[in-house]
Structure formats: C-alpha cells, structure tokens
C-alpha cells in the first residue's frame, strides 16, 4: 500500500495544474471569504432628493423646533446617498443604472407633518430588473423610513407628554410669542376645595362642587397613567430574543465553517473518485488485484491519499481565514478532528462514486453534480419550508457527509455544541460509503 501511495503522490506531482488548483483554490476561497467578511456589506448607492425648502424644513412641535433635515442621518446609516436636486434627476439616475434606487422627499412633507391630518409621503424609485437587488433596496429603505418614523413618533410623544403634564399640574405656556398661564387640574382642584369651604354644609352647590373636585382628581390620576401609555407609543413592540437551540456562532465564523466544508467536500470527493477511476483508466486495476493488492487495501490507500491532501489544504485554508476572522486557535485539535472526520467520510463517498462511474470524467462530473444540491439542501434553515419538506431535506442531508461535516466544523471552530455527535455520524457514513464502494469494486474491472 505504501508503494501505491507514493505512486499516487508522484502522479499528483506530475499534474502541476491539478496541484496548483488544489493549493490555489482554497487560498483564493479563503482570501475572498475573509475579505468579504472583514469588510462587511457595502451600502447601496441611492439617489436622494430633498425637495423641502430650507426655510420650511423645521417642524414646530408644541413650541419645540425639529429640523427634518436632521432625520436624513437616520436614513443615511444604511445607504450611500447620491444627492440630486430634482425628482427627475433622481428618476434618471435609477433608469441609467447609476444608483440602485432613489428617495424623493416632496416639498410639502413638513407641512403635512405639521398639520397632523394627512401623513407625509416619501417617494421611492427602484428598478425591478433584478429581483434580489430590488428587494434589498426596498427592504433597506423601508427599514430606514420606519426608523425615521419611530424617531418622529418619539419626539411627538414627548411633546404630547409635556402638554399633558401642563394640563395636570398647570404652568406657563408660550405660543406665537405670547405667554399663557395654564391653571391645570391640580390647581383647579385646590381652588374648588377653597370655594367649597365657604359654602354651608348640606347646600346643593357644595354637593356639586364635590362632584367637580372628584372629577378633577380622577382626571389627574388618569393623566399620570397616560405617561406610560404615550412613552410606549414610540416603541410599541420591543424584541426580547431567547435562544432555544443551536450555538451562538457569529455569522463570520459560521461562514468560515461553510467555506472549509465546501472546499473539503470538493477536494476529497474529486481526489478519491478520480484516483480510483484512474486505476481503471490506466488499466492497472486488474493487474493490481491479481494478488498484488487487495481491493480493500486499494480503497483504503485512495481514501488515505484524498483525506491527507484535503486535510492539509483545509488546515492551510483555515490558517488563511484566521488572518481575517477571529478564530480560536486553542481549539486547533478539534479543528483537526472535524476536518479529518469530514475528509474520511467524503473520501469514502468519492470512492463509491469512482467505483460506480469507472471513468475520471464521469466521476468528476457526478461529484460536482451531487455536491452542489447537497450543499444547498444542508443550508436550508428550518422554518423556511414546510415541516414535511424540511423533514425530507433533513433526511437527505443526513445520508451525505456535508451536513455532519458542517456541524462538526461549527462545533470545532465555534463551540456551538458537542463535536462527538457529528463525528459519530461521519464515522457511520464512512463505513456505509466504504462498504458501497467495496461492493461496487466487484464489477469495476
């Protein structure tokens, strides 16, 4: 077996393009993913036309001035604005593809906000040629407009609370440059109590004043309660997140686990399937199994070759990704365990493919054709499809090594759970695919 392994390594060395692909592929993937993760998503470029005149940009909310242009900052947190002066310019920018979308603030916006009768309307333009892109723009702008709405609502609620406080306790109020003294319910109650003392007990007027005093007290205590009601208007719903299952893996680390799993899958499957099929294409298989090497030993040699190469490349890839993403190097032994478990299971699957297809080209094609849908299925989150479909997806994912490899690597890299379960799963798959490839080898010659 040692001589066969050395022979295969020599053959690999004699295929510089293949070796270059095996080494460069993970490095390129690592750099691309690392670069993407470290930069974060780019803000979409959106044309922005604020048609509200400077002189009318301020809202008077109960005497408090609010500059609506300051709300632009909220909007610009998620977009990169391309400032334009007119609605037509904004629309043209979208039509010509210079920007993903356009936001137009009509000139009557502050008037409508001030009136409180009719809501102000912001216009959003976007191209629907690319459904993903258009949805992204729609969602981003909608979310930011909701944030702006919430901020305005909060300000309005604050002003309303100040009015209510004035009604309850009384005080000075300024309107159009004039000062007004507001009596307030509390002081009204006190005045009424003074007046009541002047009246003789049992007089009808005293009974009526008692009624008014009770009303003032009731009104004041209820106005106190409205503080809480109004303060909740700004944020009527708050989110409290409780994790029921799974780890607390950051998206970047999970992406690393996915990238390594995908690379591991491709390298191991292609190497194992190709190396076995090559024995038949070179017509050497029959010569080997005439007592020189047993079929099982041949399979183990190919699995070992593919797994060793893939583990080396994937650990190199992890080291590369570690330059961009914060990885926990103290868990390195677990990385090796996860990568090795996945590599062996993929190698066994690759051998089964190679033994069934018998040709390098057919084996490579089948590897790619199987890998892509399996990756896709393994990444479908629960809840995104019906429970019955998800059960089917889970069952299909369980009979191929991608999902357990991803789970093992997630556990190894991110401590998202125990690695023992996924490793046991991978061991079982190694045995099943190994047995299948041994069976297929009976008709390999």
């Amino acid at each position: 077996m040692r001589w066969l392994l050395l022979k295969d390594l020599r053959l690999l060395r004699r295929s510089p393009q293949l070796v270059a692909l095996l080494v460069l592929y993970p490095i390129v993937i690592a750099v691309l993913i690392g670069f993407a993760l470290s930069r974060g998503p780019d803000k979409p470029q959106v044309a922005f036309a604020n048609l509200v005149p400077k002189s009318a940009s301020q809202l008077d909310l109960g005497g408090e001035k609010l500059d609506t242009s300051s709300q632009e900052d909220v909007l610009f947190r998620a977009i990169e604005p391309v400032m334009v002066k007119t609605r037509a310019q904004a629309i043209r920018k979208v039509e010509e593809g210079d920007v993903l979308g356009a936001i137009v603030i009509p000139q009557d916006t502050t008037q409508k906000l001030q009136s409180g009768i009719e809501p102000a309307t912001i216009e959003v333009f976007y191209n629907a040629e690319d459904p993903v892109k258009s949805r992204y723009v729609r969602d981003t702008i909608k979310s930011q407009v909701q944030d702006a709405n919430a901020a305005l609502t909060k300000r309005l609620a604050k002003v309303a609370l100040e009015f209510l406080d004035l009604l309850g306790t009384g005080g000075q109020y300024s309107f159009l440059g004039r000062e007004f003294d507001i009596l307030g319910l509390k002081r009204s109650e006190e005045i009424l109590k003074e007046a009541r003392r002047e009246l003789r007990p049992g007089s009808p007027a005293r009974a009526q004043i008692d009624q008014v005093v009770r009303f003032a007290r009731l009104a004041r205590s209820n106005l106190d309660l409205s503080d809480d009601v109004l303060s909740s208007v700004g944020t009527p719903l708050r989110v409290k997140q409780i994790r029921l299952d799974g780890g607390t893996t950051p998206l970047s680390s999970y992406s690393v686990a996915i990238a390594v799993s995908v690379s591991l899958m491709f390298i191991t499957l292609l190497l194992a399937a190709g190396a076995l099929a090559l024995e038949r294409e070179d017509n050497a298989f029959m010569r080997l199994v005439r007592g020189l090497v047993s079929r099982t030993a041949l399979l183990l040699e190919k699995a070992g070759l593919a797994a060793v190469c893939a583990v080396a490349v994937c650990l190199l890839m992890l080291a590369g990704l570690g330059l961009f993403v914060d990885l926990r190097w103290e868990r390195f032994p677990l990385w090796v365990a996860g990568v090795t478990g996945g590599a062996l299971a993929f190698a066994a699957m690759g051998l089964a493919i190679g033994a069934l297809t018998k040709e390098v080209r057919a084996a490579s094609l089948l590897c790619v054709m199987l890998s892509l849908p399996l990756t896709f299925l393994a990444l479908v989150p629960s809840g995104s499809v019906s429970p019955a479909v998800f059960d089917v997806i889970r069952a299909v994912s369980a009979i191929f090594p991608f999902k357990p490899t991803l789970d093992a690597l997630d556990a190894a890299l991110n401590d998202s759970g125990s690695i023992a379960g996924p490793l046991l799963h991978l061991s079982a798959l190694f045995c099943v695919f190994g047995a299948a490839s041994r069976l297929a080898l009976q008709r390999f010659a």
């Binding site: 001589w3 020599r10 295929s15 070179d282 017509n283 029959m286 005439r290």
Partner: protein
Amino acid sequence: MPADPTAAARPQGAPAAESAAVLEAEGLVKRYRDREALRDVSLSAARGEIVAVIGPNGAGKTTLLTILAGILKPDAGRVSLGPREVGWVPQQPALYRKLTVAENLRLFARLEKASDPELEVKRMLELTGLLDRSDDQVAELSGGNRQRVNIAIGLLGHQRVLLLDEPSASLDPRQRERVWEFVLGLAEAGTAVVYSTHNIQEAERYARRVLVLADGELLFTGPARELKDVVQRGGGGGGGDLEEAFVAFLRTRGH
C-alpha cells in the same frame, strides 16, 4: 522454438502435453446470467510452448484468459496455477501513463515483492531493449514499446507461464514484429505462452498449437496445419490459407 512431438492434434479439450504441462485447466465453465461464456473448456501449455486461442468476436477468448489469470472465477472447473504464478498481459497496456518506464517496472517489482527491485528493473529494461527509454514517461512511448513494457511487467514475478490477450492488436506491422521477437525470445527461454488473437496469420506463424473457440465452446485444438486438414477432409475447402480454413471450419460447425 522447441520442437514437441506431442503437439499433434488431440481430442477436443484434452491437454496437449500432459507430461511437460506447466499450465492445466480442466472443465472451465463461466456463465453471465443466462449466457454461457465458456462451456467445459480444458487446455494445457507445456514449457516453452506457444498456444494461440482464436475465435470470432464473443467466442470467450478474453474470458478464458481472464480465468487463467485468476481475475475471474469460473463457475466450474479448475486452473492448476494461482494468479501470482501466471504472468498476465492484458490487451490494453496496464501501465501508469504518467510514470516513466523504470518507475512502472520498479513499482510492480516492489508490489511483486522482488528481492532486489532495482535488479529486476535493469533485467527487464535489458530484456525489452528499452534501457535508453527508461526515463521516458509511458505516455511518450509508441504502442509497440508500451506493449513491451506491458509484457515485461507481466514477467516480473518470474512466472513460467505468460498469458497475452491480443498482444499485437492496434500495433502496426513493424511494432508487431518487435513484440513477437520479444515473445519468441521468452518462449525460447522456456516460458509457456498462451495468447488470444484475431489475427489468423499470426496464429499460424507463431503458435505451435491453436485452440478454436466459438460461443464458449472449444471446437479444435492442435497445430494450424491440422485445422486445414480437418477442413479439407470434411470437404469444406481449405486449400487456401489458414484464415479460409478457419472460416470454413466455423461454418461447418454452425458458427
């Protein structure tokens, strides 16, 4: 080529040279589902003897050689030698194209557990006359040279019997000649050679005995000239060359 008086025509399926036989197979049967690929086929080969297995396509020639080589197991019958005791040369060269001639020989010498692999490599390079091409990758060799390396690997285990499955197929006449020079040299040195071929002239020219297989049945075993005699005696013609006699023989047997 050593002369052997026992190499005359014998009853079908009987061993040719029982006393000096180094390879014997008796009553070989092989079925693929409902189809019988071999039906009670027996043969033998003596030391230094060259035996040709001829027959139309699908006659069972490759199946017979594959069973003799120990790759396929027969459904019935026995072969006197185990796989490691027989040198086997498949029709398509069983070589690693990206390895050099010497590397191929060295690899198989090591797998054969040769006591001195380097000495074996040197011996085979000399035997094949490929010493000057030892560092060339097999992919760069001509078909004839590849076949010589292919045969040399078949001989690495110092077996007394060499099985060749259509050794000259897809070779040009010059390459064919070189391969046969090599094989005749081996036979002269005492190796029994059993080979299958479609080329009737080649069978007549090099083999001491021919075996005619058709539909898995052994129809004739004996010298080529006797096949002509059999056809002439049966009134099937056969005054021409062996190919005509062979075709006429098959016709008279209903094939």
